[in-house]
């Protein structure tokens, strides 16, 4: 859906992640970019250069916050310090929606700093949805949860990943940040059809999409974000766009980061598929 209640009714177009190697270029050349996605945790600080830089970006660009450590799926209660700082940042950026991952990563207050896959059970879905609601009510901003790429599955799971995602977002009444690269990576690692995943989620809840590159190894695929987007992922993106509508789309490139122009041009390739979806809709 181009604009819906899960993305603050915003039609944001194609953005890229705001990354350190591009700061100087962005501030000096002021390139035209639809929007930037920031990693919330990088700016949840009390002062100094990160906030100065963020304020300069906010003067010129639309910014959406993306978190990596809320851990909606952890059994622990939400971390109050984290929530307080996140709310401060939400007020600063006026992000129209906020995203974080459908995963866990901490237990008993110890953080792994990883995006760990959930056991897909109804009890886990209820707990996760409850936390998403708590965080959304406190932050007062729409939330989209992102499917993660994973390398392990659990015996305890009672459903597929897309069924779990659906269960969580329906219970929480929140949006989906659909990462089509993550779907592709997990489909290869776990042997499911990625199109089944995309076909069977509630399309009206998709508020944003992610695209990225990955790396193939002999026995598995890693979600490395250090390459251009691969063809199968673009095809899956096109399919998802046909089903979900044209969503705010973000290219993630987090390692071996090339020039700003290279990253931006890679992101803009999404337009070809968006145009295709438009033609198909006519």
């Amino acid at each position: 859906m181009p604009a819906n209640r899960f993305n603050g009714h915003c039609d944001y177009g194609i953005g890229i992640g705001l990354r350190v190697p591009h700061y100087a270029h962005i501030l000096s050349k002021k390139p035209v970019v639809d929007w930037f996605e920031i990693i919330s945790e990088n700016f949840m600080v009390e002062g100094g250069r990160p906030l100065e830089l963020l304020d300069r970006i906010l003067e010129q660009y639309r910014v959406v916050q993306h978190g990596v450590s809320m851990y909606f799926g952890s059994a622990d209660k939400p971390d109050r310090t984290h929530m307080r700082r996140l709310k401060g940042l939400v007020k600063r950026t006026k992000t129209p929606w906020l995203s974080d991952h459908l995963c866990w990563g901490s237990v008993d207050g110890t953080y792994t700093h990883d995006l760990l896959p959930m056991p897909y059970t109804f009890a886990a879905a209820r707990r996760t949805a409850e936390k998403i609601r708590q965080v959304r009510d406190y932050l007062e901003v729409p939330i989209c949860v992102e499917n993660v790429s994973s390398y392990a599955e659990f015996h305890a799971s009672e459903m597929t990943e897309w069924e779990f995602l659906t269960e969580v977002v329906e219970l929480a009444d929140c949006g989906i940040l659909l990462d089509v690269n993550n779907i592709y990576v997990s489909s290869k690692n776990h042997g499911f059809n990625p199109y089944d995943y995309v076909d069977n989620i509630p399309h009206g809840r998709v508020g944003q999409m992610h695209i990225a590159g990955h790396t193939k190894f002999e026995k598995y695929i890693l979600d490395t974000h250090d390459h251009p987007v691969l063809d199968p992922v673009w095809k899956l993106y096109a399919h998802a766009t046909e089903l979900c509508g044209i969503s705010a789309t973000l290219l993630e490139w987090d390692d071996k980061i090339p020039s700003f122009d290279e990253v931006h041009n890679e992101a803009l390739k999404a337009n070809e598929f968006i145009d295709g979806a438009k033609r198909a809709a006519v």
Binding site: P50, G109, Y111, A152
Partner: protein
């Protein structure tokens, strides 16, 4: 983290079950790697790890349960090790890569991250070096100073800024009653070695190495030509690690100036702080120091510094 259950729950029907499951998996992936950078072959109770992993992780047609768990175990350690190397290049250079690797692994095993941000990862390193001096021997004193200095850089980079006390406000209060706070991002360090110069040299060396590895004729030999940075010789050094215009700076301080700032930061009145500085604090010098500190915006209203000191 609390001790994991003996077996991962077969069914996850409640939040308590979910917690037990997560404790089991988190314990597995945060356990130190084996000598060949893999998952340890035995679980904490001595059972074969292959058997334990198979209890809760499904294998697929290419990877066993053990191998799938091992991926997460490796990623955990590589990620955290990268982060601590980024935070502590000086400590790594002083101890050497092997000794630093042993220290980092032991530290992260004893003090795993308790923060949502990796920025705080080395916040308890000073405490740990004091607790386990054998890991840094015979350079423990030096290692402690470098760790304090490198944590001070983290604090200076993004620590809290408080409204600066104006000259007019200073003038309104009699010195005998005036108490000033120091900006939370300023750390005062009384060191036995010139750690500031040492860390600058290490950063310069690392930049040259990076440059060498990016040049077309880059070879291992070319990089090796950039030699080890000599360890600092003992020399009492008073330094403030701070930021100005949001850039990191190290400011050397006269011993008397250091004592004034230290006394102020501990809550002394201005009169008492100057008296504590000793004979080096002549009126003219004190005036100049304050002029400089005011220009840097170091003084703020007194308040609690929240959780920013290395413990």
């Amino acid at each position: 983290m609390k001790r994991p259950p003996k077996h991962a729950p077969v069914r996850i029907g409640s939040t308590d079950d979910l917690r037990l499951f997560q404790r089991m998996m988190a314990t597995a992936i945060t356990r130190p790697l084996s000598a060949d950078d893999g998952l340890q072959s035995r679980w904490i109770d001595g059972r074969p790890m292959e058997k334990v992993a198979a209890e809760f992780i499904k294998p697929n047609d290419r990877l066993t349960s053990f191998e799938r768990l091992e991926l997460y175990n490796r990623m955990y350690w590589f990620r955290l090790f990268d982060a601590i190397c980024d935070d502590c290049p000086g400590l790594q250079a002083a101890l050497g890569e092997r000794a630093f690797g042993r220290l980092a692994q032991a530290y992260l095993a004893r003090y795993p991250s308790q923060s949502f941000t990796l920025r705080d990862l080395s916040s308890r390193l000073v405490r740990f070096i004091r607790e386990r001096p054998s890991l840094t021997a015979p350079r423990t004193a030096l290692a402690l100073e470098i760790a304090r200095f490198e944590w001070a850089q983290t604090v200076a980079f993004d620590g809290e800024f408080r409204p600066v006390v104006s000259a007019a406000a200073l003038a309104r209060t009699p010195p005998g009653r005036l108490r000033l706070g120091l900006q939370p991002y300023v750390t005062l360090l009384d060191l036995r070695h010139p750690i500031d110069s040492y860390v600058i040299s290490v950063k310069r060396r690392d930049a040259m190495r990076s440059e060498a590895s990016n040049t077309p004729d880059s070879t291992v030999t070319a990089r090796e030509r950039i030699r080890r940075v000599p360890l600092p010789r003992p020399s009492r050094t008073f330094v403030a690690v701070h930021r100005h215009d949001n850039r990191l700076f190290y400011k050397r301080l006269d011993p008397a100036a250091f004592r004034i700032l230290e006394a102020l930061s501990k809550g002394s009145t201005l009169t008492r702080a100057i008296a504590a500085a000793g004979p080096g604090a002549t009126p003219a010098r004190v005036r100049n120091w304050f002029k400089s500190w005011m220009a840097l915006g170091w003084f703020c209203a007194r308040g609690n510094k929240r959780g920013r000191r290395p413990s």
